[in-house]
Symmetry: C2
Subunit: 220 residues, 2 copies
């Protein structure tokens, strides 16, 4: 398996392909073409073939891909053939929303600990979890062998919480908002900045007003 310099956009699309393949499998579909995958998820079929080619040869010309095999292969690439315990720090509105987000469980992400340093939040229950004080992070991380942490605290506390998680042994972090956290180089960090998504929308709205023909070509 050759896996060098895979664009991150490819990794994200693999997630999307795997969901589509899961749906096909549930519907009893046995084989699928790159054209069908492309149409099902809204990208070009050349893109589908290019993304899959990073990981070697798939499919049979004229027959297409075996749905089940391709799905399992992609899930294996994404590391999703096993469940992942996750801790979440920051039990405010966003943290609570994420704890109750069904999409995580569906993909094998189990939130095993929720933490906050606010006395009004500690002890509160979110689904079947009790909000614990931040001091208990190391214990829960060790107990469940947690590798992934989600940080939903205010921006000013994000770096401090990242430090605590990394020290406890977590080596993948998902953060929210514009703060760029500093971590050792063996820790993977990805960030969700929701303003950026809105700015993609305004880019297109603006482009459509100023260059209507360019807009129609770009929004494909």
């Amino acid at each position: 398996m050759k896996v060098l310099r895979i664009p991150e956009a490819t990794v994200s699309r693999l997630s999307i392909y795997s969901r589509y393949l899961q749906r096909l499998e549930r519907d009893g579909v046995v084989t699928v073409s790159s054209n069908e995958i492309a149409k099902g998820v809204g990208v070009s079929s050349a893109q589908v073939r290019k993304d899959l080619a990073y990981f070697g040869e798939f499919g049979t010309r004229g027959v297409g891909y075996n749905v089940k095999d391709l799905m399992h292969y992609i899930l294996r690439i994404l590391g999703l053939t096993r469940p992942w315990p996750v801790v979440l720090v920051g039990a405010g509105n966003l943290g609570t929303a994420l704890c109750t987000y069904r999409g995580f469980k569906d993909r094998g992400f189990n939130i095993v600990g929720v933490f906050d340093n606010d006395l009004l939040k500690i002890g509160k229950r979110i689904q079947d979890l009790e909000v614990l004080p931040v001091e208990r992070i190391p214990e829960v991380v060790a107990e469940h062998n947690v590798r992934i942490g989600i940080i939903t605290v205010p921006q000013s506390e994000t770096q401090g919480v990242a430090d605590i998680l990394v020290k406890a042994g977590v080596n993948a972090l998902l953060t929210f908002g514009p703060t760029v956290v500093q971590v050792p180089e063996d820790v993977v960090v990805r960030n969700v900045d929701l303003s950026i998504k809105l700015e993609v929308l305004t880019f297109y709205l603006n482009l459509r007003e100023t260059h209507p023909s360019a807009w129609f070509e770009t929004n494909l």
Copy 2:
């Protein structure tokens, strides 16, 4: 201004560059090189030059870019030289978190209406907004000339709410979760699926275990 077939990743990076330039401007920096921008935001300097080249010639060889000019130019491309009124539908935990998200206001996004169809939520106050019944969407969209809608309702209601917003005149939607909404082709939709971000993390965690040398090359 030639703006054809700009990769969406470029648009997202323009958002990031503009934030960095705003910070430089606040610090009184007058010129900046593509190397400095690259270092400041964590991408390659070739990428910075390539992204900016989509929009024409910038900068002076050996001098770099004028911070203020480049920042304003990017903000203009992103449509951010004016404020954008936004409506949000779904006043649950996620919706409440987004209403109180400071990052939106900082970039000119003003949430002017929050809606829900849950009688327990209607009338509740989130910051200075009162949660209104969904029936009042058309009135608020028309009053504020709203183009952008954020949908944070349960997955099963996402399409219905998208239809209501589009009918009211909204032509850019931000949705959450795996549901793919169907809209007329003059409506722009972007989706935030938080599981996909976690799957990027597990991809790297898995890659590091299975191909340590590949991991170090990829995670740059």
